[in-house]
């Protein structure tokens, strides 16, 4: 792909077969410098829309529709051939932008894969079959004889997912189970002796896995090229654009507490009551009650407290004061202190870990004896009501919050709680526990300030 100034785009003469490109290699096109940036921004709107939908816990069908609407709104040209060019160009520009760190790569990979999945799903079955063959998937359609022998199991799987019958022209593919991890994880396929029997409509999963794995490798290669040649070569032209493109899209990571830093352990009980979101409040209460937390809870609460401004020595004192009551001071020093210092980047590979965002908290899976994760997702309605009442949320709003949680809008539920507890609105919506804390402290301090006057 060549980037030139002020030249018109020379359109390719290829006939486009499928509208869904696989981004195997950069297209041999010339692109105007302005379009370099504009195309990328338009695509980024689509990806960000998907990202937002996921964090807010929207249902998959809703996000799929949202993605397609955003795509139509931002990526369409009057001429179909131009569409494909914009599609390709914007993707490859964003590869440059998002190849540069592990976290950026992870985000871009997730969003592009999701986008690909929705677009693939909306293609006709012939187009889907054509795309499948482009992936060189060596999967055989199941022969009639074999089909008959496993048919009752296939029907059983379909019924377990709520489908009543297999379609009359059902085609199944036999693939090694490790190629369709998603389907295996959800028990959505019958597996036997290492082979999964995949329905045509599940083929999306196979194709998406391939897409993802290819893109993941490509991003690593792109990063290498970027660091070794491109960044330096383009330092007066493309590099500044690339570097600016991504910072506007990721929220603050709250790993460096700023204005409200310096909380000390004697204040902690008080601010836990007034300014902690429910997830952290619950963990905090459990630590005080049980004098213990399992690993998941220690990570979630520990990193949150770091973001809130608790210094490493105060953190060690806090955890020790609690844990020593259960396991003894010596055992604390031996088994737990190391990990706390690790979280602050004082041990091991010295990564400074960042506090978890709502998305990460919501996606975690607390098990037996755990108290982490998002309470709006995991608490039973009874427990959630009780917890909200303890926070001082009025009964009418509690119903509202429960309703949001029931519909899986966990962050909206938390936002409503915030608004009820503080008596003021939060338009941005809560998407990070430390954001909840900072906003809460802002309101409380301004109240104190005005009262003092």
């Amino acid at each position: 792909m060549q980037v030139v100034r002020c030249h018109r785009i020379s359109s390719s003469n290829d006939v486009v077969v499928s509208t869904l490109p696989l981004y195997r290699s950069a297209p041999p096109l010339e692109v105007r410098l302005e379009d370099f940036e504009l195309f990328a921004v338009d695509r980024l709107r689509v990806l960000k829309g998907i990202s937002d939908g996921l964090s807010r816990g929207k249902k998959p069908e809703e996000i799929a529709k949202l993605a397609m609407d955003l795509w139509k709104a931002n990526m369409r040209y009057p001429q179909a051939t131009e569409d494909v060019n914009k599609d390709n160009i914007s993707h490859f520009v964003l590869r440059l932008v998002y190849c540069r760190t592990e976290e950026l790569r992870k985000w871009f990979l997730s969003m592009e894969t999701a986008l690909f999945r929705y677009r693939f799903h909306s293609e006709s079955s012939e187009a889907q079959r054509a795309l499948m063959s482009e992936f060189n998937l060596p999967y055989k359609a199941v022969s009639n004889a074999e089909f008959e022998s496993v048919k009752d199991k296939l029907v059983q799987v379909a019924r377990s997912m709520g489908q009543t019958l297999l379609p009359a022209d059902a085609i199944f593919y036999k693939v090694p189970f490790e190629e369709v991890s998603e389907l295996v994880a959800g028990r959505r396929v019958f597996i036997h002796k290492g082979h999964a029997y995949v329905a045509m409509n599940q083929v999306v999963s196979i194709v998406v896995t391939q897409f993802r794995s290819h893109l993941s490798k490509a991003l690593i290669l792109t990063n290498r090229k970027w660091t070794s040649t491109i960044r330096e070569q383009e330092k007066d032209r493309l590099t500044p654009i690339v570097e600016a493109l991504c910072t506007s899209y990721l929220g603050p990571d709250y790993s460096q507490p700023k204005e409200f830093a310096e909380i000390s352990i004697k204040d902690i009980d008080q601010i836990a009551k007034t300014s902690f979101p429910l997830c952290m409040r619950h963990l905090f209460e459990k630590v005080r009650e049980d004098h213990h937390l399992k690993h998941g809870g220690r990570m979630q609460l520990g990193l949150f407290l770091k973001g809130v401004g608790l210094k490493v020595d105060d953190a060690l004192a806090f955890w020790k004061a609690e844990f020593a009551q259960k396991v003894g001071a010596e055992r604390f020093d031996k088994e737990y202190a190391y990990n706390i210092r690790h979280n602050y980047g004082r041990e091991g590979k010295r990564t400074d870990y960042t506090p978890y965002s709502c998305q990460k908290v919501i996606l975690s899976t607390p098990g037996v004896g755990d108290h982490h994760g998002c309470p709006y997702r995991h608490f039973s309605e009874e427990n959630l009501r009780a917890a909200l009442a303890r926070m001082g949320v009025g009964s009418r709003i509690v119903e509202d919050v429960i309703d949001k949680a029931r519909n899986r809008h966990y962050q909206l539920a938390c936002t409503l709680t915030f608004e009820a507890v503080h008596g003021s609105s939060c338009d941005a919506g809560i998407n990070h526990p430390n954001q909840y804390f900072i906003e809460s402290q802002k309101i409380l301090q301004s109240k104190n300030g005005s009262m003092a006057q």
Binding site: S160, I191, H192, K193, H282, T365, H378
Partner: protein, 452 residues
């Protein structure tokens, strides 16, 4: 003992002299361990296992393979050393005998010798990263504390051990029949659980995502004390894997053993817990009413738990109960009390360390012996050989000229023999075949590209 003392016969002393001299008091300490590692621990077998055939003479053998495997030792005083690696059987054996670790963990095979890891980057081209690792599972009975009443915490008894038997049967069958794995080793963890090592080449090369997917395939139990219903089985029918587990294992154990062993329905506190799982309040109320009345005259012969369970099943499965939520209620209750609960994190990550078989558990003194999945009903954790017991058996044998295979004259013999015949030899045979066939394939490919 003097002749006087013997003849006066103090009651609390055994009169049989020679055995007294061999007696080894119960315990776990460095001295005992030294003898254990010196004479009993199967160093060579562990080495052969970890080599996966690469210690052979075939040209395709990867000589660097075993040296890239991480071991970690926990020494006396809780000193913990990671990233230990060995290039030969004698290196491994000597290091264990010299350091006398209280625990040995096995980690993954890395891209390079872990001892040289600092020379490599964390990301980019020249990486230090895991490349192979067995698929492992860890099942701990404390994760079932909310459904067993006989013990809590670290205790285990014959009333609740069936939960582990169930886990072995369900998981082992699925690993073989569904996933197609063959080389599977089950090991007693020494105190309160079991470990599983899946050693097929395909399993060792699984990525973290694939391991997570397999763990998710096995996961049914969700939630903890904060959520209400922890097992939810939606859908008109169960997935074939769950259905098979239910009919072949869970239902039988629940009705024949756990109902009575754990007295699940005999008192109000206990049956309330089960009634809570019924979404239809009126059905629960009806049962509650019946059980509170305690009409036991006609039922004296039968176990009250069994009788009440029949009543519950009838109430939920009889024709009139067609409501959605009740459809699978009986199964959900059985699953709650029996279905395996895995530690997901252990299985998901290639770099997770797991205790080696044949270690001795410091708190119980019991050896982590293999369990035969085909006979796991017979396994009794209270009869597993302890360190002191084995040393006593060695003493009884007296002095021997050859130092080979001393385990054979102790209770450990059975375990080592089983380990070899059931697991190690078939595995190594298969590894040899794999190495040879992939070598031949490569040769063939090279020939093909050369021909015009």
């Amino acid at each position: 003992m003097t002749k006087d003392e013997v003849e006066n016969g103090r009651d609390d002393m055994l009169i049989d002299g020679p055995e007294q001299a061999n007696a080894v008091p119960d315990g776990f300490n460095a001295n005992y361990l030294r003898i254990y590692y010196g004479k009993l621990f199967p160093h060579a077998d562990i080495f052969k296992w970890m080599s996966y055939g690469n210690d052979g003479k075939h040209p395709a053998c990867d000589k660097s393979y075993i040296g890239r495997r991480e071991f970690s030792f926990t020494l006396e005083n809780d000193i913990y050393i990671r990233f230990q690696s060995f290039n030969s059987a004698s290196e491994l054996e000597n290091s264990i005998k010299e350091k006398c670790p209280f625990k040995i963990d096995i980690g993954p095979v890395y891209s390079v010798d872990p001892a040289k890891r600092h020379a490599y980057a964390q990301s980019g081209d020249n990486v230090f990263t895991p490349v192979e690792r067995e698929l492992v599972f860890d099942i701990d009975i404390t994760d079932y504390d909310d459904v067993r009443y006989c013990c809590t915490g670290a205790d285990v008894c014959l009333e609740c051990w069936p939960l582990m038997t169930i886990a072995i049967k369900v998981i082992d069958t699925a690993l073989r029949d569904d996933f197609g794995f063959n080389h599977i080793l089950w090991v007693y963890s020494g105190r309160r659980g079991v470990h599983c090592w899946v050693c097929d080449g395909k399993a060792r090369r699984l990525t973290n995502e694939q391991r997570a997917a397999i763990a998710d395939y096995f996961r049914v139990y969700q939630g903890n004390e904060n959520s209400n219903k922890k097992i939810s089985l939606p859908g008109h029918v169960l997935h074939p894997f769950l259905a098979r587990s239910y009919t072949e294992v869970l239902k039988g154990f629940f009705e024949a053993k756990l109902l009575s062993n754990q007295n699940l329905l005999s008192s109000e506190e206990r049956y309330e817990k089960i009634l809570e799982m019924i979404p239809d309040g009126s059905v629960a109320a009806e049962l509650r009413g019946r059980w509170q009345e305690k009409k036991r005259s006609s039922m004296l012969k039968n176990d009250i738990n069994v009788v009440r369970w029949e009543q519950l099943k009838h109430a939920l499965q009889s024709g009139k109960q067609k409501a959605q939520g009740l459809r699978r209620c009986v199964e959900e209750i059985v699953f709650s009390f029996t279905y395996p609960r895995l530690d997901m994190e252990v299985s998901k990550h290639m770099n997770h360390l797991l205790k080696a078989p044949f270690c001795v558990h410091p708190k119980t003194g019991r050896v982590c012996v293999p369990i035969d999945p085909n006979n796991c009903d017979e396994f009794d954790p209270t009869k597993v050989p302890t360190l002191s017991q084995l040393l006593e058996e060695l003493n009884r044998g007296g002095l021997r000229q050859d130092a080979e295979d001393e385990w054979d004259r102790t209770s450990l013999g059975e375990s080592v023999t089983f380990f070899r015949s059931s697991f190690l030899h078939p595995l190594l045979k298969s590894c040899k075949e794999e190495i040879e066939s992939s070598y031949n394939t490569k040769l063939q490919q090279a020939k093909n590209t050369l021909s015009w």
